[in-house]
């Protein structure tokens, strides 16, 4: 389609370059003069959205790598320090982490669009296969990236996924050892994953170039599925496709920004805020939502090797799609049967995604097997069969005819597809969430937190009182090792002055050294010091606490969660409810009961807590009425203590929360303005093309 360019620069310097390297001509013929079908709908803008996402991920990734330390002992902390100390580090990390989800969200729409409109059919087979390769590379990159923060899910995800290769007959164990670079997942694994996670996006970018090249040779498919024949069928890429893509990208950024600024942890797993621990596996290992359908297929097959083959087969089978579906009609618009089965297939995929997040037991296994069979049957039986028996409706003669035939109702179909998309996406995204809902302990009551919602702020008084409760009660067993005394004077925090923070720090004894004699010594704390931990190491902590390890509290409100269940998790997405962690912590502190209910026996040294999973907690009731005296006259009750200390710990877990929400508001005002302007510009540009 993109023939030799007639692009001729007029500037002599550009002319000189162009004769020697016709790069401007290439850009011009590819992205300016390139003829694009005039009937493309908004599903086609996801190509541009994906290009943007790749750029965003590479850019933020390169920046994060400037601050990240790929070492098993330091990785978790370095990620936390990025979020806490690097200028806009929280923003960059949120963009990169939710960006991965957005990337997959967009790629799934892109793939389903290709599936629906038959974009894989002759002459676009290579284009499609290149897409499958990109998708595989994305999966590998996404997985390795998830390992880098070195939390519990990172570690155990890495263990489970690398162990997939142990299913290979004869060589399995050797392959796994080769991947690990050790006897188990450890520092060498983390190092190589970091290296490959940095490398693969550039490989993806290379394949994307091939993907676009192949696209520009075959020309874009379109909703009618007929090839462009005359000039009347196409419009030049710029300004038509450019402005439409810009509008699509802008809409997508609104969606993206919702996660970045308001729901940064909605798609993540609370478990990953617990540092990797090779001795403890989390109760539910759940992959990121975008792998869930394949995870469900893996678990549906009761044989290890067969399960792994089925899982990889579910992806590889996509590459054979152009030959499995031999129907001459491309677009499902004109294939009444294929259209219905397509939507059923979408439901099957979402269903598998939901099941991937459920515990592998009972009905879930059975339904999982049925859906797995349905998944493969769609490709192996249904599509080949349909292409032989289905009688398609007549397709339009040309794209121009298709455009002319279009009447009203376009907006309605757009709205309905957006709603369908949001529900489908929400189901898939919320899949992981519902796994935890099944755990069956008493749900903590949702509380009113001053920091909840889009404009939530910390209550300064509560932060100061909470700090007092932490210092006088919690700190005897629990560390707060990611919080520095200087943080107490930072904006968005408890509102102390620099001098107050300094005075607070100097009350602590901090170990320093070695001095000139080579000895360690104690000195008064400085603002740059971190809260000292009550125990020098985990062993000492366990020895002093009857075998239990009091967790560090720096991230506790993010590291604890509970399932909200359907449909709450969907509603939470719109109401920006993110306070499961604080709800749980506050409830736990008040959930002690002197006597366990009848019929419950507690192990030696345990206490009954209504909200603790399993109810037997090793921590004795920490707070009692009147234990801490507040200067501001707030009631000295357990309820007040719990609320204040939880507020303080929420701040400790995310000291820049107020900055995040404030910037989010500005970004939203800007993006809405830009989107509205782009919408009208797009209308203007397209006014004479319809």
């Amino acid at each position: 389609m993109s023939g030799p360019s007639d692009f001729q620069p007029t500037n002599p310097a550009l002319k000189w370059i162009e004769r020697r390297l016709p790069i401007m001509g290439l850009m011009h013929s590819s992205f300016v003069a390139y003829p694009t079908p005039r009937n493309l709908n908004y599903w086609w803008t996801f190509g541009a959205i994906l290009s943007m996402m790749l750029g965003v991920q590479i850019l933020t990734g390169v920046i994060l790598a400037m601050h990240y330390t790929p070492h098993a002992d330091l990785a978790f902390k370095s990620v936390e320090l990025i979020v806490r100390d690097v200028n806009y580090g929280w923003l960059l990390r949120n963009i990169h982490a939710s960006g991965a989800s957005m990337f997959f969200f967009a790629v799934y729409i892109h793939m389903f669009r290709g599936l629906y409109y038959g974009s894989y059919k002759e002459p676009r087979e290579v284009l499609w296969i290149l897409g499958v390769i990109i998708y595989l590379l994305m999966m590998a990159t996404g997985f390795m990236g998830y390992v880098l923060p070195w939390g519990q899910m990172s570690f155990w995800g890495a263990t489970v996924i690398t162990n997939l290769f142990s299913a290979v007959p004869y060589f399995g164990e050797s392959i796994v050892t080769l991947l690990w670079g050790g006897y188990a997942v450890g520092n060498p694994t983390l190092n190589r994953f970091f290296s490959l996670h940095y490398l693969l996006p550039f490989v993806i970018a290379g394949v994307v170039v091939l993907h676009i090249w192949a696209l520009h040779v075959a020309g874009q498919n379109n909703p009618a599925g007929v090839e462009a024949k005359t000039e009347k069928d196409t419009v030049p890429f710029t300004p038509y496709a450019t402005i439409k893509d810009a509008f699509g990208v802008s809409c997508f950024m609104l969606f993206f920004a919702w996660f970045i600024f308001y729901m940064p942890n909605y798609l993540g797993d609370a478990e990953n805020y617990i540092p990797a621990n090779p001795a403890v596996t989390p109760a539910h290992i759940v992959p990121e939502w975008y792998y869930l359908p394949f995870y469900a297929i893996l678990r549906s097959i009761p044989n290890k090797l067969a399960g792994v083959i089925a899982m990889f087969g579910a992806i590889i089978i996509l590459a054979f799609l152009p030959w499995l579906d031999s129907a001459k009609t491309r677009s499902s618009k004109y294939r009444p049967l294929a259209k219905q089965f397509f939507w059923m297939f979408v439901v099957v995929c979402i269903g598998l995604g939901y099941l991937g997040a459920q515990p592998p037991e009972g009905i879930y296994v059975i339904v999982g097997r049925i859906l797995t069979i349905a998944y493969f049957a769609y490709f192996l039986i249904l599509l080949p069969l349909l292409s032989r028996i289905e009688k398609p409706r007549p397709v339009p003669n040309s794209i121009a005819d298709d455009v002319l035939a279009k009447s009203g109702g376009k907006a309605a179909s757009m709205v309905s597809s957006v709603i369908a998309l949001m529900v489908a996406g929400g189901l898939l995204l919320g899949g992981a969430e519902s796994a935890r809902a099944a755990e069956g302990s008493t749900k903590p009551p949702a509380q009113n937190w001053s920091f909840a919602g889009p404009v939530g702020k910390f209550d300064r008084g509560a932060l100061q009182r909470g700090l007092k409760v932490y210092k006088e009660v919690c700190s005897s067993c629990h560390g707060l090792s990611f919080v520095a005394f200087r943080n107490l004077a930072e904006s968005g925090g408890p509102g102390y002055s620099v001098a107050q923070a300094q005075a607070f720090a100097s009350e602590y004894k901090v170990k320093d050294g070695p001095n000139d004699q080579g000895d360690m010594f104690e000195r008064p704390g400085r603002p740059a010091d971190y809260f000292p931990s009550p125990f020098p190491n985990e062993q000492a902590a366990r020895a002093a606490n009857g075998g239990a390890f009091p967790p560090d509290l720096s991230l506790i409100t993010k590291a604890r969660s509970y399932g909200r269940g359907f449909p709450m998790f969907l509603i939470d997405f719109f109401t920006q409810y993110q306070e499961q962690g604080p709800d749980y912590v506050a409830a736990l502190l008040q959930g002690y009961e002197d006597k366990p209910p009848a019929g419950v026996t507690l192990p030696e040294g345990s206490y009954y807590n209504k909200y603790f999973p399993g109810h037997a907690i090793k921590m004795p009731k920490p707070l009692n009425d009147g234990q801490v005296t507040f200067d501001d006259g707030s009631p000295a009750t357990v309820a007040q203590y719990s609320k204040d200390v939880t507020t303080f710990l929420m701040w400790a877990a995310e000291p820049h929360m107020e900055a995040r929400k404030a910037l989010g508001l500005q970004v939203f005002v800007f993006l809405i303005l830009l989107t509205v302007l782009l919408y009208f510009t797009k209308k203007k540009v397209w006014a004479n093309a319809h």
Binding site: M66, D85, N87, R486, A528, F670, L677, L678, K684
Partner: protein, 176 residues
């Protein structure tokens, strides 16, 4: 979106295009800010660059020590009478970077020279008590400093910098 009349099509269109382009450009420019800002020292690095205190009692006359502040070596020299006299004898006007010795030390503490031990040429660390002026000699490109840390010979353009410091007591200084 526009104030132009509906009959005025070209103007209206142009206004829309310019407005959209301008808003997009503002957005792009604003996006660059955090991407560049993140390269500045982070909060923990800034906090670690807080002032330090140095006890001067162990430094005998004629000796010097090197301490680190904000990642930079700071030379603290306990100068002899001879070294001070040498530094003060030189006519200030004849120096490449004219500065009196008195201006480079704290009044009443003439024996203490505190300078950043980084050659003002290209950042190497000069060696103390070397060179023709018994001051500092930079091995990289041959810059020679005198007992006041002033440049006397070689390619360096200016004197060794004096860091901000104060005497907390007669035997203790705070750098920063």
């Amino acid at each position: 979106m526009t104030t132009a009349s509906s009959a005025d099509h070209p103007t209206r269109r142009d206004f829309l295009f310019v407005a959209t382009g301008a808003v997009a450009a503002v957005g792009a420019a604003a996006t660059v800010w955090p991407l560049v800002s993140q390269m500045n020292p982070d909060a923990s690095t800034i906090a670690a660059g807080a002032p330090i205190e140095v006890d001067l009692t162990p430094i005998a006359e004629g000796q010097d020590i090197k301490v680190f502040w904000r990642g930079k070596p700071i030379y603290i020299s306990h100068r002899t009478k001879k070294q001070i006299d040498e530094a003060r004898k030189v006519p200030v006007a004849s120096l490449p970077d004219p500065q009196s010795d008195e201006a480079r030390v704290k009044p009443g503490h003439d024996q203490w020279l505190v300078v950043v031990g980084i050659c003002t040429h290209l950042g190497c660390i000069p060696i103390a008590h070397e060179g023709a002026y018994d001051g500092f000699f930079c091995p990289c490109h041959g810059s020679v400093y005198d007992t006041s840390g002033r440049i006397r010979q070689g390619p360096a353009p200016s004197n060794l910098a004096v860091p901000p410091y104060t005497f907390v007591s007669d035997t203790k200084i705070q750098i920063g």
